[in-house]
């Protein structure tokens, strides 16, 4: 393997990206152009399981959705840190083990905190 990679080494990746983008954009453009267009009022209304549309979609909804979503992201992302640790588990040894326990402990403290704060209680 080469010690250093130069810009030319990335060329295949660029091709890959170009092809992927090209395929998506191309198919969308092509179907848009060659497909027949018949506009009826039924077709233009948003489809909502066959029920008539009621009101405006842009209205405030409970902040609890956000809260749950952000907490999910938070704890989910932490898992990312575990992958490199798991891969290097042997090299890191017991120090790594202890550090990971501290990390998980901190997470757990946070988790416990949000439960106690009733952040996950819906009512």
């Amino acid at each position: 393997m080469e010690a250093q990679s130069t810009a030319i080494n990335y060329l295949p990746i660029i091709f890959q990206i170009l092809v992927a983008l090209g395929f998506a954009v191309g198919t969308m453009a092509v179907t848009h152009m060659i497909g027949p267009k018949r506009k009826t009022s039924d077709k233009l209304t948003p489809f909502e399981a066959g029920i008539k549309v009621v009101g405006n979609a842009r209205q405030p909804f409970s902040v609890k959705y956000f809260l749950v979503a952000i907490l999910f992201v938070l704890f989910d992302v932490e898992v990312i840190f575990m992958y490199p640790w798991a891969v290097n588990f042997r090299e890191l040894g017991s120090t790594g083990m202890i550090e990971m326990f501290i990390f998980m402990g901190t997470l757990l403290l946070g988790f416990f905190y949000i439960i106690k704060k009733k952040a996950l209680d819906w009512d």
Partner: protein, 462 residues
Amino acid sequence: MNALITISVLAVLVLYLGLYKANKALLPVTLLGLAVALFFTINHWNVFTGPTFNDMMSYDNFAVAFSGITITSTMLILLLSKGYFEKISDHVAEYYSIILFSLAGILVMVSYHNMTMLFIGIEIMSVSLYILAGIRKQDFASNEAALKYFLMGAFSTGFLLFGVALIYGAAHSFDLEAIKMHLETNLQTGQAISPLFYTGVVLMAVGMAFKVGAAPFHFWTPDVYEGSPSLITAFMSTVVKTAGFAAFLRLFATCFYPLHDFWMPVILVITIITLFAGNITALYQNNFKRMLAWSSISHAGYMLFAIVSLGSEASYGVFVYAIAYSAASIIAFAGLVLMQANTGSDSFDSFNGLGRKNPFLAFTLTVAMLSLAGIPLTAGFIGKFIMFSNALSSMHTWLVVLAVINAVISIFYYFRVIVAMYFKDAERAELEIPLNFKVVLAISVVATILIGIWPAFLPNVI
């Protein structure tokens, strides 16, 4: 290092204390914990052996000195907070722990030895501050402050990060020592330094100037400082600013030093604009808090002197200046908090006749204003004196002349407070000054005067 761990654990501890409704214990525990952290910090004086944590952090005397100031200032500000956050909402414990987290970020900022740690430190600090700026949820100004601060902060972080990335591209390292070595070897061997590096330095200067509120990247400062709760403003304008300058200085005076011919003019221009923008606008304020915000911009200009004049005296200069400025600002904000709590107003007129009714408060405020204006026998004078001497010794004569003109301009607005307190009479009730305020005021005033008369009592950072 121990201090950093102490503060981090303390923050979690305080959070849990709040969870178990031990609201009475919050402040004492926080202060106690900070005292322990301060003890660890001071203990670290002169025991520096080299960077630690895989060369991520370097707890040298510079770091110890600035950790010391920031922890002490935080303690003083928190002492003022007794009963303050309770009025805002029930989440008192959270506020304390966010402040502590922010302080943890600051400790990282003053002791980083790696660009990533700089970034992490700044982010830990900033994210906490975005929240703190907006803790008055019902207050429109507070919301505005938080949003503005967040947007501007994110923007400046972008600059900073881009700069770091470019420098990494050029120097192949995040390590300050390695980057410096890269510069030195390239300069010695006559190899060209990559243009990426120059761009990176400029971007980082812009990012840091944003963070410390130096013109022309200062426009967020007055609104944010005015909108945030006064105590948080006190924290931002003292502790955060000090930390920002420590980080700035560490980066430019050590790491980028070999390249100073390139970035010096940039910083010079920033310094001069900052001085004039801050001082001249402060002249036109009718509101004490806003005046303090603008004056803090002008003080950023004076602190930039350290970066301009470089040399090993520079860090001593910033150190003394930061202490002087923090002590005086804490007094000013303590006065402001008292005034707002009692009269609900923070215009200059609300200080009318204070000299007669509250001689102690008026005296401390006077000392603070004199110190900020740089009148001799106060710490502010010594700070300015060292800054000016350093700049003169590196032959920045014009800069110093301009700074001196600014120092005279600043007299006008600082003295407005004194004039209001002593020369204008008004029927007013005596302000009630709680004991904790008295303690903080007394400590700050004694420090200000003591440094003014006998500066040698401060340890030398170098």
